[in-house]
Symmetry: C2
């Protein structure tokens, strides 16, 4: 069994802070500053340009991709790290559409993270007026997968409610009607067990600054199923996706596999931080993290419902139907979250009334959960939003 | 006048190294490791998610854009930092083409960096079979700018020869025939004075890991002329280019100005390194750096031509016609460059026979130039490539 007290000790959490926002930005692994310092002084400083080969910088996008692949059900050589999640959504969606040129409809849902929708809107506009982005409610996705659909673009875990889509079932349905799947794992990688190969997913993308603790602005990743990798369209066809980047040919020839989804010069300093953060995952398994995440989130729900009757659960009650976060609705949620943060309990707020809390077993335990709920209950009893000065302030803003 | 001995002291160059490859990757500014360490521990570590506002991470792409803008003739609010150069080429080219939807030809030249051409090939393929990437020799660009051309996609300084295009003249010609200009400043920013506003450039892009010393994988930048910024198409329409990213609307609405060219979560650690590296530019001006770059490169050419008669100048002889690098042709250039690097003189090699040297006044002086040429002359006199064991090795590789 994983020693979660040992993993917790590997994070540099501030004194007095209960951090329930690892679903937005993971905290600093204590080993990262020294690792980065060594990278800066010994690699960049001493090796200079030769670091690209000598220090293995050029291979990092694939090496880190393999490390992430182990957490999401991918084999080595199937995941490349780089760019941002929005860029990787663009690449995956363009490649997926290219596999079904006879169809023009991209299906997504209103619970998807807006940037995925924006990126799709931009891409479809460029592809021409025949293309359509069709949005349905999350619970209507399965029924909406018809033989009109070219590509399903779905984020597995809803960023607001934590609602978990059934990746295997939706992928099966998509394939039955001849659609191609793009899965966004932003709130899945490092949070829930993902089995891309088992589900038969076609493309997947995700970020590394949430549950993987890669740091602010850590790079994204992209997975291409091996059956597509050799012919997938690299819409953003940069030189590092070229078959032979240093031949400096005038014509693009796509690299052999998912390497073709590399674009430009990768962010070596960010990748060094991510590499260090991924070391912590060697101490556990996704299944053990998931089991403990459910323990913590179930405890949180029970404690909140006992102590804070004004709050309404906005996440699925069945832990198997949600990711690693729990959301509650509360009319004064914005004010309550500000008060929580001021008391060192960091969650976040999503309009109009969602208070969102992430459960990250690598550095949270039962005491943290109980402590957070105790402070939340105090704030709710305090009802600062009923005070005259709060109402006056709210009226002018 | 700039105290270039003082700027040189701000770089952490390895003992015994003469670094003439700052045109590929600038060296480590000595202040960067401590700055990054503080950012990691005090910002990421202590502020966690609140660092996006409290530490100003969210504003860094525009704040750093303004700092770079001062070096390339742009006003505040006209440059955004982020992503990689290839991504920014894609955005600029897509937006430029959108301004001339009636024309289908993109003009570039065979001296352009291949990734720019690859990105253009990928974009044009997506836009449809009517589109054409037309490549001419660098010296034929001006004549090839006809009223068929939608967009000129030109890198100002040739990455191999250092040949400098006349930005003002080509932009004028392009505008005379109704074409839109995209300038790649990869080898210009921090190397030569650039006056985007004066030249009337429409779009410009560049990288920050060469002459701006931002570190391996440092982010790129994009400039949009103010006359276009409010209507330029953000083809990669990510959430941070949205008018109100945190409203989490389902529909994309482009931000007011060049902010719309932001895409996803920016690389905060890389940006902190770049921010620190840009401090050094407060000690000088682009004009003084340029004057000294010419002094150093002229000295280098004179010394090489006196001491190394086997080498042929591959860069323009007129310093006004080249950027901040000098290339020589030499049949055994690959072997000679390997030998140079082994002796601590770091330049680089570009097939088939180009030995390339960058001149970066912030940390190179006359003694460095003379020292490098002395070692080059020894290597050439040594003629290791004439030795039997070298020839035998070469025959099998």
């Amino acid at each position: 069994m994983t020693d979660f007290a040992a993993t917790k000790a590997l994070f540099a959490l501030p004194e007095g802070v209960l951090y329930l926002d690892g679903n937005s930005l993971g905290p600093l692994p204590a080993a990262v500053p020294d690792r980065i310092d060594a990278m800066l002084r010994e690699e960049w400083g001493q090796m200079l340009i030769t670091g690209w080969n000598q220090a293995g910088w050029m291979e990092m996008p694939m090496r880190l991709g393999d490390r992430i692949g182990r957490l999401i059900g991918a084999e080595p050589g199937q995941v490349a790290v780089g760019d941002t999640l929005s860029i990787k959504v663009y690449q995956a969606l363009a490649a997926a559409l290219d596999l079904r040129p006879d169809r023009k409809v991209v299906l997504s849902d209103t619970g998807n993270f807006p940037s995925d929708l924006y990126i799709a809107q931009g891409l479809l506009k460029m592809l021409g007026p025949d293309y359509e982005l069709r949005l349905v409610a999350p619970e209507e996705v399965e029924a909406a997968i018809t033989d009109e659909i070219a590509v399903t673009l779905i984020t597995e875990v809803d960023y607001r409610s934590g609602r978990l889509h059934d990746m295997a079932a939706l992928t099966r349905k998509a394939h039955e009607v001849g659609a191609v799947t793009v899965w966004d794992l932003a709130h899945s990688a490092g949070a829930t067990p993902v089995d891309l190969a088992g589900a038969g997913a076609d493309f997947a993308v995700g970020c590394t600054y949430k549950y993987l603790n890669g740091g602010p602005g850590a790079p994204a990743f992209i997975y291409v199923a091996p059956r597509h990798a050799g012919r997938a369209l690299p819409a953003l066809s940069g030189w590092l996706g070229h078959e032979a980047p240093f031949a400096f040919d005038l014509d693009y020839r796509a690299g052999a596999g998912v390497e073709r989804m590399r674009v430009g010069t990768p962010p070596v300093i960010q990748m060094a931080a991510l590499d260090c953060a991924l070391d912590i995952w060697e101490m556990t398994t996704m299944e053990q993290v998931r089991a403990r995440s459910i323990t913590l989130s179930e405890l949180f729900i029970a404690e909140v419902e006992a102590a804070c009757p004004g709050l309404t659960l906005a996440s699925p009650r069945d832990p198997q139907a949600r990711g690693s976060q729990v959301s509650f609705r509360f009319d004064e949620g914005y004010a309550a979250m500000q008060a929580l943060i001021a008391r060192g309990v960091i969650g976040d707020f999503r309009a109009p009334d969602i208070m969102r809390f992430g459960f990250t077993p690598l550095y949270l335990d039962e005491d943290d959960v109980r402590g957070a709920v105790a402070i939340l209950a105090e704030i709710l009893n305090d009802k600062l939003w009923d005070r005259a000065e709060y109402k006056a302030r709210k009226a002018v803003t």
